[in-house]
């Protein structure tokens, strides 16, 4: 295959929900016309607008290849990382870009991430085990034990799942799918001894039972984590008291 060779520029219209708290009473849409390659990332388009049309357009970004989690936003109505979706993937040349739902907009596409990280911190997202092996070497863990929680180790805390969740939209106090994913990552780690504490937290009113299995989180996850399944496994652990 010969990648990215032919010049196949397309006309694209980018409609972006803008909000400047220092000037605007409420958010409004601005539309930008530009030319782009089908293989351009949506992030490249945003950079093009910022670089050549309006430097005040504001969004977060860093790694630009889907591993740092900075640039989650709503693209044509769905939560995605702007750096992980190409123009051709959208099968459209009219594109609407809006900030994530359910978190306060600080400016343009930048939302206040603090409530999201607060929920994350509430589930004790760290290994709990003070008994270090006597020989100073690694805790032993079989490949199967390691595989048990592999999926949820992939989380990059981008908030695409939580801000796609109808239960989170209706009550922002719900810990949300990302926090459950990060609890799952430790609950099912054979080295961890804090499962009971975390399950107790997630069994509370704003815990895992707020999930109505809408599957939006799984669809939104840019890391292809089976979020809904992880939530179901946590629910089952609470119900049965078993961690298998």
């Amino acid at each position: 295959m010969i990648p990215r060779l032919e010049k196949t520029m397309q006309d694209v219209s980018l409609k972006i929900l803008r909000y400047n708290p220092e000037a605007d009473a409420k958010p409004h849409y601005e539309t930008y016309a530009l030319q782009a390659e089908p293989t351009d990332r949506i992030l490249d388009l945003l950079e093009q607008v910022k670089g050549y049309q309006d430097g005040s357009l504001t969004f977060r970004r860093s790694c630009a290849h889907g591993v740092c989690g900075s640039d989650a936003m709503r693209i044509n109505g769905r939560n995605m990382l702007a750096c992980k979706v190409l123009l051709k993937d959208l099968a459209a040349t009219k594109i609407t870009i809006e900030p994530l739902l359910g978190l306060k907009v600080m400016k343009d596409l930048v939302v206040d991430m603090e409530p999201f990280f607060e929920s994350y911190r509430s589930v004790l997202p760290y290994l709990i085990n003070d008994a270090v092996p006597a020989d100073g070497k690694e805790y032993l863990q079989s490949p199967d034990q390691r595989e048990r929680f592999d999926d949820t180790t992939k989380c990059i805390l981008c908030a695409a799942c939580t801000t796609a969740c109808p239960s989170f939209w209706s009550d922002g106090r719900f810990v949300g799918p990302a926090a459950v994913v990060n609890a799952h990552r430790f609950i099912f780690d054979s080295r961890d001894q804090g499962a009971a504490q975390r399950l107790e937290i997630l069994n509370e009113q704003m815990g895992v039972w707020r999930c109505r299995t809408a599957f939006n989180c799984t669809e939104a996850c840019p890391r292809d984590i089976h979020v809904t399944q992880a939530i179901a496994e946590v629910k089952r652990a609470i119900t049965t008291g078993r961690l298998d």
Binding site: L5, G55, G69, E138, R146, I156
Partner: protein, 597 residues
């Protein structure tokens, strides 16, 4: 008036080095970590292939072998006392990370899994050794997450999305930093007894890079502006396998798992350049070989890229030809499923950005700007040193990619960046806390935020029409063309002239956003100023070094010259001009010899 804060230890940057420093410093001192990103956005998270440590979980290995490989990889420019320390400490730090919860991939016996990596060898047989401890192909992600988790557990104080702008020095010692809070645009003064810079690299100087947007060399540029030197800036690593035209990293772990580089004739060209370890030679060696293949018209379709092939049939064919076997002695029989399990993110990147499935088709790759061997000079305890006599600047520390210990010398081995950030982040944090417990606060200058404010005012009040993007693109292009994998005197002179012109244009830069809240327009412009200064120092140091060593390859001086150039460069920026000096390399056990793989 800026808000004032007071901490015993202040850490700038929250990647692997900053978080490790934060964890250790906060055990003994009142500590805060400030970062221009949320910590988990840091570029450590993009590291893929592994962290090197001679655990010997699969075969015989020794810290001494790791030490020698690193010395040789550095083309003998690394300081051998620091390298020996790092390779010994690597073993401890890997176990420590595992105890913190890092989910390493596992062997059947439950131990940490290890794989082959470029330049890491059994020193007796000279064959590649399995030393890289990995978590699939997302080892950096796991390190970053694990360290952030531990910081939460230990209640480390964070200032997220605070951009450091200036370093405050008083009475010849560090006394704090000035930072801008992105959310409000306000300047904050952080007074501290000890300051640790862990601000990362500067790959955004070049047009094709694996580096994040955030990698704009802030720490090095700030210290340069405050009159401190930068060390070995001419040495910047080009990683052989960036995704064609995008520069996104394809881990060396692909070759560690048996992947092969091929030219347009399907030839395994590395055989001709590194007969023993072939595709697992050091990165500088492979990037140069690729460049030469492309120049000879042997790129795919005659274009400027080559193929990295990790299809199971290719892996198995060359494993048999090389006589590589499994640890139980049986033949290597890689399957698509196994490769998918070991390299899931690589498969995902290729599918997303190229529409290529790497277990069915080869990947188009070309060298990509990847890693700064040079940076803020430190000793092996993370203390910043400011001259050829290694005089310590009291209260100032640096660790990770922004620092130059130097453990990587002229070329870093794969997996050693993760070793560097964890080992030296830890020790810089410990040292800083120790220093802070015995030191007094230095006074602050009368108007501590004056210089930071002046830098912003100049950008905001410019009446010019120049766009940040245009200047930035011109800089990246000339640096890629003239201060890239191969360099010549005339090319670098042209680059220096161009950068001078760009710095003039930069004075006429136009900022669209004049607000306070999240003014990324202003910050991007400020970051460009950093990159231009780093580009200038890099080109000047490279022009002066009339030899080829590691990542610095001169067409007009093609061989290493230990007589003249077995020394570290130190570069100062004085009134916009670069002044160079040199200091000796620390050599303990390994006398320089010819470097062949």
């Amino acid at each position: 008036m800026p808000q004032n804060h007071e901490y015993e230890v202040l850490i700038v940057g929250a990647g692997g080095a900053g978080l490790m420093a934060g964890l250790y410093a906060s055990r003994g001192a009142k500590t805060a970590v400030l970062s221009k990103l949320y910590p988990t956005r840091s570029h450590t998270g993009a590291a893929q292939g592994g962290i090197g440590a001679a655990l010997g979980n699969l075969e015989e290995d020794h810290a001494e072998w790791h030490t020698f490989d690193t010395v040789k990889g550095s083309d003998y420019l690394g300081d051998q006392d620091a390298i020996e320390f790092m390779c010994q400490e690597a073993i401890k730090v890997v176990y420590e990370l595992e105890h913190m919860g890092l989910p390493f991939s596992r062997l059947a016996d439950g131990k940490i899994a290890q794989r082959r990596f470029g330049g890491h060898t059994n020193n007796v047989t000279k064959k590649a050794v399995q030393r890289s401890c990995y978590a699939a192909d997302r080892t950096g992600h796991m390190i970053l997450q694990t360290l952030y988790q531990q910081c939460i557990k230990n209640n480390v104080t964070f200032y997220d999305e605070y951009q450091v702008i200036d370093l405050l020095l008083e009475n010849g010692a560090a006394t704090g930093v000035v930072a801008m809070q992105l959310a409000t645009g306000e300047l904050h003064v952080f007074q501290a007894r000890a300051v640790v810079f862990a601000t990362g690299g500067h790959g955004r100087v070049w047009s094709l890079t694996s580096n994040a947007y955030a990698y704009t060399g802030d720490g090095v540029a700030i210290t340069l502006r405050r009159g401190l030197p930068a060390e070995d800036m001419e040495f910047f690593q080009f990683h052989p396998t960036g995704i064609y035209k995008l520069g996104i990293l394809i881990t060396e772990g692909v070759r560690g798992e048996g992947g092969i580089l091929l030219n347009k004739n399907g030839e395994r060209f590395m055989e001709g350049y590194a007969p023993t370890v072939k595709d697992l030679a050091s990165r500088d060696v492979i990037s140069r070989a690729m460049h030469q293949q492309i120049r000879q018209g042997l790129g795919i379709d005659g274009r400027d890229y080559l193929h990295l092939d990790v299809r199971p049939e290719t892996v198995n064919k060359y494993a048999a030809l090389d006589g590589r076997v499994r640890s139980d002695g049986g033949p290597i029989q890689a399957t698509a499923e196994e490769l998918l399990a070991k390299l899931p993110d690589i498969v995902d990147f290729c599918r997303t950005y190229l529409g290529v499935d790497p277990v069915k088709e080869p990947m188009p790759v070309q060298p990509t700007a990847h890693y700064a061997m040079g940076g803020i000079p430190t000793n092996m305890f993370g203390e910043v040193v400011v001259d050829r006599d290694n005089t310590v600047m009291p209260g100032l520390y640096a660790a990770g990619e922004c620092a130059c210990v130097s453990v990587h010398g002229a070329n870093r081995l794969g997996t050693n960046s993760l070793v560097d950030i964890t080992v030296f982040g830890k020790h810089a944090g410990m040292r800083a806390a120790e220093f802070a417990s015995g030191a007094a606060f230095q006074p602050l200058p009368a108007d501590p935020a004056e210089f930071a404010r002046a830098q912003f005012d100049r950008l905001l009040n410019s009446a010019g029409r120049e766009r940040v993007t245009d200047i930035s693109n011109d800089m990246k292009r000339v640096m890629m063309d003239e201060v890239g994998v191969f360099r010549t005197q005339s090319g670098m002179e042209a680059a220096l002239k161009k950068i001078g012109e760009l710095q003039e244009r930069y004075l006429q830069v136009k900022i669209d956003d004049h607000g306070k809240v999240f003014n990324t327009d202003l910050l991007n412009a400020w970051e460009l100023g950093n990159l231009l200064e780093i580009a200038k120092v890099t080109a000047a140091a490279a022009l002066a070094r009339q030899e080829s060593r590691g990542g610095h390859a001169r067409e007009d001086f093609p061989t290493r010259d230990d007589q003249q150039w077995l020394k570290h460069s130190l570069a100062w920026l004085e009134d916009g001009k670069v002044r160079l000096d040199y200091k000796p390399v620390v050599i303990t056990n390994y006398q320089p010899k010819e470097r062949v793989y």
